[in-house]
């Protein structure tokens, strides 16, 4: 039986895994933040907030969420696949919400 398959991915090629983790934290975190901003902007604007106010509030929240998502992705012990799924998937869902609101209003 092959020995390498029983060693966890993180120990097989630690540098590569670390790079992959950083990539997921940054790119996934960015996607998650973008989605949050899009959803916030759409929903706040639809609720009657002035556009640039919604843009500002969404951006401020998005930046803090990016920070949180990034730190979570670096610290979590879950597998990389889970990290990607949460960040990309969550980001995509939220972005879709924003676009949905836009198509309802425009």
């Amino acid at each position: 039986m092959s020995r390498t398959s029983t060693i966890p991915a993180a120990s097989r090629a630690p540098r590569l895994h670390l790079a992959a983790r950083v990539g997921a934290a940054l790119l996934g975190g960015y996607a998650f933040a973008w989605g949050l901003i899009a959803a916030s902007m759409g929903l706040l604007f639809a609720a009657g907030m002035e556009f640039h106010d919604a843009e500002f509030l969404g951006s401020a929240l998005g930046l803090l969420v990016f920070l949180a998502a990034f730190l979570w992705a670096m610290a979590t012990r879950r597998r990389l696949a889970v990290v990607w799924a949460v960040l990309l998937g969550g980001g995509a869902l939220m972005a879709a919400t924003g676009s949905l609101v836009q198509s309802a209003l425009v």
Binding site: A60, F66, M74, Q102
Partner: protein, 556 residues
């Protein structure tokens, strides 16, 4: 991946702090200098060493100056590819005239935007710039580089790297890393309150460096977090997360249409020529209305839109002199008749938060103590990052020497470059500013080359001198570049005296603080640099530690 949360945060802090720290040094240092950007401009352009002036009369000063303006030949050439057909000799259709000033500006910045006939994009505009003496409208040379507001200031938010906004992205990324470094730093150090008061210089070496790193990080922690965060927020919707311009531009356009209708400010020209009523009366009326609301203030920004057209309007905005929030409080008049179109309504709650956060970062207010505290905060941030580098190298260099690794040497050379090298470049551009011939064409470009060239030289010097670090010894380049800083600083002060006659005794007697302040800051920096160089020299002479032998050579 990491055993626990604290270890993960320690890894993030170390490696993101190290890599992005090199960019953050520039953001913090030049950000600190930017607090006094206009004062540095006065030092660099001696013909502008006059007192700050309020916005002058439109009829007497601004209008003749505006009417003289035309885009430069270079601007016309740059526009040519975006136009189908010939470029006119003279741009006659003025989209906007605007004038901008703050309480620290002795000179007035003028902007004129013109319609471009036959342009591919119907909204295309070509711009002309001018700087005038507000007392009489006399034009000031435009090709003088404003080393403070047009070089150090953009350097701190974009590294002046404008290709595809790459510099904005690099600085933005480093700001995010700063936030991560602050949070992870707090996680790593449990005794937060105690660290504010802990500095043990006697312990020497790693302990003292770490104490100073923690102290400078913790003492100004809210400041560091706040500036990185607001810096990101200010640029977020334009550069980092342009959601409103891309994915949700439909909502943006919807909003613009609604707003144009609500405000009554026409977006397009009517195509019908019309005259211009008394703009000075409109400005006076705007100031009267601000006062009526208990917000008497100075004019910061004056804009004339669709000049010469029936749809033309004049907007008067308040300067941010007397409060933190960067309020616009714009009041708009019909250009042809002078009647009021609209007073901008008070900001919404979110709008007030935005104005406050932006105003806190951009500090247009007149409050000298607070501005000096900003400089202190910026310098503390720079010290925090620099001590981080030193700690990184000191912690690892003996171990690296034993294994024959070059890692500590590389980091140390880069650290010298971004700490002492950066200061040398900043002082070097001031020296070049005084040395270059007054009427040298593209003088500003040469000043910039001097800055980058000197910084590059500092890198080469640091790299070449860093061989001892690979043996576990200190890099002599630190000491040598400290001397370099001192020499350049004193040279700048002397050259200012020789080339302009405004030596310290004269500027202090006259109370002309912009120039006296820069000269004093240069001399203070020289004193600190000399003290540092001597301390480093004494330590090097006293210790003479044995170089760490690499494991390989020991075997041979």
């Amino acid at each position: 991946m990491f055993q626990n949360f604290r270890l993960a945060m320690a890894w993030v802090h170390t490696w993101f702090g190290l890599v992005l720290g090199f960019v953050l040094m520039a953001a913090f240092f030049f950000g600190a200098l930017s607090v006094f950007d206009r004062e540095i401009d006065r030092w660099a352009i001696p013909s502008t060493r006059i007192e700050p002036q309020p916005m002058p009369s439109f009829e007497k000063v601004l209008r003749p100056a505006f009417e003289r303006m035309q885009p430069t030949p270079e601007a016309v050439e740059a526009m040519r590819p975006r136009v189908n057909g010939a470029m006119p000799d003279h741009f006659g259709t003025v989209e906007s005239w605007s004038a901008y000033t703050t309480h620290r500006d002795p000179v007035l910045a003028l902007y004129a935007g013109y319609d471009v006939p036959n342009a591919r994009d119907p909204e295309e505009a070509i711009w002309a710039y001018a700087t005038i003496d507000p007392r009489d409208g006399a034009p000031l040379p435009v090709d003088r580089l404003k080393i403070g507001s047009e070089f150090f200031y953009p350097l701190h938010y974009s590294l002046t790297l404008d290709w595809k906004n790459l510099g904005f992205w690099i600085v933005g990324f480093s700001a995010l890393a700063m936030l991560a470094a602050l949070v992870s730093g707090v996680v790593m150090h449990r005794k937060l309150f105690r660290e504010m008061f802990t500095f043990r210089p006697g312990r020497g070496g790693l302990r003292s460096v770490l104490d100073l790193h923690n102290l400078t990080g913790v003492v100004a922690l809210p400041f560091h977090f706040f500036f990185a965060f607001t810096g990101l927020v200010i640029f977020a919707s334009t550069y980092y997360f342009p959601v409103g311009h891309t994915q949700l531009h439909g909502l943006h356009d919807l909003h613009e249409q609604v707003e144009a209708q609500e405000t009554g400010l026409p977006h397009e020209r009517a195509g019908v020529p019309a005259g211009l009523a008394d703009v000075d009366a409109m400005v006076a009326e705007a100031q009267r209305r601000w006062e009526a609301h208990g917000k008497a203030g100075e004019v910061g920004f004056l804009v004339l839109q669709h000049v010469g057209d029936a749809n033309g309007y004049v907007s008067v905005y308040r300067a941010g002199t007397d409060r933190i929030a960067l309020v616009g409080d714009g009041i708009h008049f019909k250009a042809a008749t002078g009647e009021l179109i609209r007073e901008d309504p008070p900001a919404t709650a979110v709008g007030r938060i935005s104005e406050f956060l932006t105003g806190l970062h951009l500090q247009h207010f007149r409050h000298w103590l607070l501005r000096w505290l900003y400089v202190l905060g910026g310098l503390l941030g720079a010290v925090c990052i620099a001590t981080g580098f030193v700690f990184f190298v000191e912690k690892r260099k003996r171990q690296h020497a034993r294994h024959g690794s070059q890692g500590a040497r590389v980091v140390d050379a880069l650290a010298v470059t971004t700490v002492t090298g950066m200061v040398m470049a900043a002082f070097g551009i001031l020296v070049a500013n005084r040395l270059l011939p007054e009427d040298l064409p593209a003088r500003g470009d040469w000043e910039r080359y001097a800055f980058w060239g000197l910084w590059l030289l500092a890198l080469v010097h640091a790299a070449v001198r860093s061989a001892p670090v690979a043996l576990g010894l200190p890099n002599p380049a630190w000491r040598e570049q400290c001397w370099g800083i001192a020499v350049l600083a004193v040279a700048a002060v002397l050259l200012n005296w020789i080339t302009t006659g405004d030596h310290l005794l004269r500027t202090l007697a006259a109370g002309y603080w912009p120039v006296a302040g820069v000269d004093l800051a240069l001399l203070a920096s020289a004193a600190i640099a000399v003290a540092a160089a001597r301390a480093l020299g004494q330590r090097a002479a006293a210790q003479e530690p044995a170089p760490v032998r690499s494991a390989e050579t020991a075997h041979a």
